[in-house]
Structures are given as structure tokens and as C-alpha cells.
């Protein structure tokens, strides 16, 4: 869920921009010049995946997949999501310049958290059951945390936003289940077809150098 321009208070906008700047800086630090083409192509793949609409009852939701993105990219999720949101703002006018920081933080922070919390369960050699459960939890938690962060950004702007914020978090619950299922199925698919993607191919390993 994007928060539109002009809604949030200046202090929330500044805090969001500052934290996002820090996150992007960490992400870019671990990014070699040589990796930029492949990172860009993967970011583009996630951009396209977020345009996929999945039916749920009479309506449909679009995928977010920030949990999976975090698993594959680690801290680089910050620059990847920043670019994705900037392009969404430029191409479709979802969100704008002043909310870019907050919106990036709300999507990328859960991705990084999930990378640290669930990354271990997805390495080679974990049992199928553990693997599936971890992937499900990762997809679901990422969306849940995002929903809570969006609600929190609104709440910090003014207490009058509280009911709207609560409804937003509640609306994220069904999406959470779907994202969990899809992340699990997608991770199982990747494990069979291209396990390298899940094993930190695009994540810097600090010990290797």
C-alpha cells in the first residue's frame, strides 16, 4: 500500500527519508559495479512480479513479494525497492517525491528483517518441511510488518488516523496469507530449479574477502 503525497506530517516524512537514506547507503556499499546489471535485471523482475494480480474471492490483490526479495537480495533490497518505487511514481504516479522515503522504508525494512530472521531456514540441506514453513512465514511476516509500518506512519502523523490505520492493517491479513503461500511455493520452485538464487548469490558474504 502506498501512502499518497500530502498525507503524512513533515516529521514522519523526514524520519522516513533519513532511515531510507541510511538503508540505501548500506545496500549500495555492498554492491559492486559489476553486479549492477544483474541487480537491475532482478529488480526489474520483481517490479514486473508486483504487477501480477492474484484473485482472492470476488476481488484481486497485486503481489508484493518483499519477503522473497529480502531473501534473495538482503540489504540490497533497499536500493532495489527505492528504484522500483521511483519508477512506479514516474510511470504510474503511485506516490511521489516526498513520500518516497517513507514508502521505501515500509517495504524494504521488512525485507531486511526477514532476511536476517528467516534466511537460515532456506539454505541448502534444510528439510523440506522446515524449508516450506520458513518460506511461508517469511512471505507472510514481510507483508504483516509492512502493513504495521504503514499504519504506524499514519498514526504518528495524527491520532485521528488510528481507525484508518487499523483497517489498513486488517486489510493486510488476507494478503499476508496469499503472500505466504506464494512465497513458499515460489521458494520451493526455485530450490528445485535454481537453488543458487536462494543461497545468497546476490548477497555479499563478508567473510569471503
Amino acid at each position: 500500500m502506498h501512502i499518497s503525497e500530502g498525507v503524512l506530517s513533515p516529521s514522519v516524512l523526514i524520519a522516513g527519508a533519513a532511515l531510507t537514506t541510511a538503508g540505501v547507503a548500506v545496500g549500495l556499499k555492498g554492491l559492486d559495479h559489476e553486479e549492477i546489471p544483474s541487480m537491475g535485471i532482478l529488480s526489474a523482475a520483481f517490479f514486473v512480479a508486483s504487477l501480477v494480480h492474484v484473485p482472492i474471492g470476488p476481488s484481486s490483490v497485486h503481489l508484493i513479494l518483499n519477503g522473497l526479495l529480502g531473501l534473495i537480495l538482503g540489504w540490497k533490497a533497499f536500493p532495489a525497492i527505492l528504484i522500483g518505487l521511483a519508477l512506479q511514481a514516474l510511470l504510474f504516479q503511485f506516490g511521489g517525491i516526498t513520500t518516497l522515503g517513507v514508502n521505501t522504508l515500509n517495504m524494504a525494512l521488512p525485507a531486511v528483517i526477514c532476511y536476517y530472521v528467516f534466511g537460515w531456514g532456506l539454505r541448502a540441506g534444510t528439510r523440506q518441511v522446515v524449508f516450506t514453513a520458513t518460506a511461508f512465514a517469511c512471505g507472510a511476516c514481510a507483508v504483516l510488518i509492512s502493513g504495521v509500518l504503514v499504519g504506524f506512519s499514519l498514526y504518528l502523523t495524527g491520532e485521528a488516523f488510528l481507525p484508518a490505520a487499523k483497517l489498513l492493517v486488517a486489510a493486510h491479513l488476507p494478503v499476508m496469507l496469499i503472500e505466504g503461500v506464494l512465497t513458499a511455493a515460489c521458494a520451493l520452485f526455485l530450490r528445485r530449479v535454481k537453488p543458487k538464487l536462494l543461497e545468497g548469490q546476490y548477497v555479499p558474504r563478508p567473510s569471503s574477502s
Binding site: S4, G40, F94
Partner: protein
């Protein structure tokens, strides 16, 4: 999927993209922090004037503003009732307050004013030019390169996606609310990631063959002309006036 609006010609089109980015940024910040109705309404009028100066057809401008306003409409269902203040009207047990309505109106104006200039910017500059301008404005090189690659490959990967979806349709896939659908979509996304990462490897090798060493060169150069400087000064003066107007409310 993605249509760019740029390509016509107007006063706004001829402006230096760097000037445009700076002005849109300053304008957005100014509107986001302002509270006074007089300031916000003037900013809204200014925003629409700029959008019209960019020769954007009114129909397209309105069409692009609709999705922006969906979130605003959502907030209108809550804010008038959850703000404390003088009662203005009531719907059943709910009481709408004067302050709540004003707050919601303020947000609506802010949002539309910012989006109008944003649309004018995108409508008058191609995305690639914006990327080069961002680089000139000292945005980190890595970030700008990432921006270029992502933008370039969104089209390619979207075509890949369309191809995969038609393959599913040919085999009689009908989406519904069931496990089969979710699994199929998950495999679709997985396949998209696998193909993208394979493609990334090929592209990178091809770039190495052509001597890629982490630099991208722009063929176009930007230069500030007197027209750019005049526009910049004019817009800055307008924004300064709005800022003073906002500030005088407080003192």
C-alpha cells in the same frame, strides 16, 4: 503496459531537466509542509497551470490523477469522523467535525497539487533523460546505473511475463481462489526470476566483451540557458512568496 507521456513540445519540454527536477522537489516539499488554505489553493492552481503549460491533454491529466485520489477517498471515509472538534454534520451515530473535514480537504489539495507538477515533469521529460539529470545532480552513480538497468529491463521482462501468461492461457488456465491458482502464479514468478537471472548473466558477459568497466556514458550534455535561469528564478520567487504567506500565519 508502460506508456511514456513525453514526446510533444512545449515551454516546459524545453526546460533543462535538472532545473525541472530541482523545482518539482522544492515544490513538493513546500506543499507537503504547508497548512494554510490560501497557500495550498495557490499551489494547486500553480500546479495545474504548469501541467497545462506542458501541453498535457486535460483528459490524460485527470486520468492520471484518479488512482492518486483513491487513497484520499479512503481517508475521507475516516478523517471527518475521527477528528475531535465542532460537530458539522452526522451520518447515523457518527458525527463529522468541522476540523476533520478541513483536514481531509487540506490533504486532498496537497496531494493533487504535488501530483500535478509530478505529472507535468514526467510528461515533458523521458525517463532516461531524468536518469542522466539525476546523475548530474550528484545522485550516487551506482543508484543511477541501477535505475537505468531496471528501467531498461522492465520492458524486456514484462514481455517475458506476457509470453508465460499466454502459454498458461493456451493450456486452459483459469485463475480462481484456489491452491492450484496460487501455485501456478508462484511458479510463474519463479520462472520469471530464473529467466531474469539467466539473462542477467548473459547480458553481463556480453557487456564485458564490449569493454564494460562500470561506467555508463551519456551522449547528451546539459547546459543552462538564459531561458532556464529565468524560469528557475521565476519559480523560486513564486515558491518564496508562498513560503512567506505560510510563515506569516504563524507570527
Amino acid at each position: 503496459m508502460i506508456e511514456e507521456l513525453s514526446g510533444r513540445d512545449s515551454l516546459i519540454h524545453r526546460l533543462d531537466p535538472r532545473v525541472k527536477i530541482v523545482l518539482v522537489f522544492l515544490f513538493s516539499v513546500l506543499v507537503a509542509v504547508s497548512d494554510r488554505f490560501l497557500v495550498l489553493l495557490s499551489a494547486l492552481a500553480l500546479g495545474f497551470c504548469i501541467a497545462l503549460l506542458a501541453r498535457l491533454p486535460v483528459k490524460q491529466l485527470v486520468g492520471r490523477l484518479v488512482p492518486v485520489n483513491l487513497f484520499i477517498v479512503f481517508l475521507w471515509f475516516f478523517l471527518p469522523f475521527t477528528f475531535e472538534g465542532e460537530p458539522l454534520f452526522s451520518v447515523g451515530p457518527l458525527v463529522g467535525t468541522h476540523e476533520g473535514v478541513l483536514y481531509a480537504a487540506r490533504i486532498s489539495i496537497k496531494s493533487n497539487a504535488i501530483m500535478a507538477v509530478m505529472i507535468a515533469l514526467v510528461a515533458s521529460t523521458s525517463i532516461l533523460t531524468l536518469g542522466h539529470a539525476m546523475y548530474e545532480l550528484r545522485i550516487p552513480k551506482k543508484l543511477v546505473h541501477l535505475f537505468f538497468f531496471t528501467y531498461r529491463y522492465i520492458h524486456v521482462i514484462h514481455q517475458e511475463y506476457v509470453r508465460l501468461v499466454s502459454a498458461m492461457k493456451v493450456r486452459g488456465f483459469r485463475p480462481g481462489t484456489n491452491m492450484h491458482t496460487y501455485k501456478s502464479f508462484a511458479h510463474l514468478v519463479g520462472m520469471l526470476l530464473v529467466r531474469s537471472s539467466d539473462r542477467a548473466e548473459r547480458v553481463y558477459n556480453a557487456m564485458l566483451c564490449r569493454g564494460f568497466r562500470g561506467n555508463l556514458y551519456s551522449l547528451s550534455t546539459f547546459s543552462l540557458k538564459s531561458y532556464d535561469v529565468i524560469s528557475l528564478v521565476f519559480m523560486l520567487a513564486m515558491m518564496l512568496a508562498l513560503g512567506v504567506l505560510e510563515w506569516t500565519k504563524m507570527v
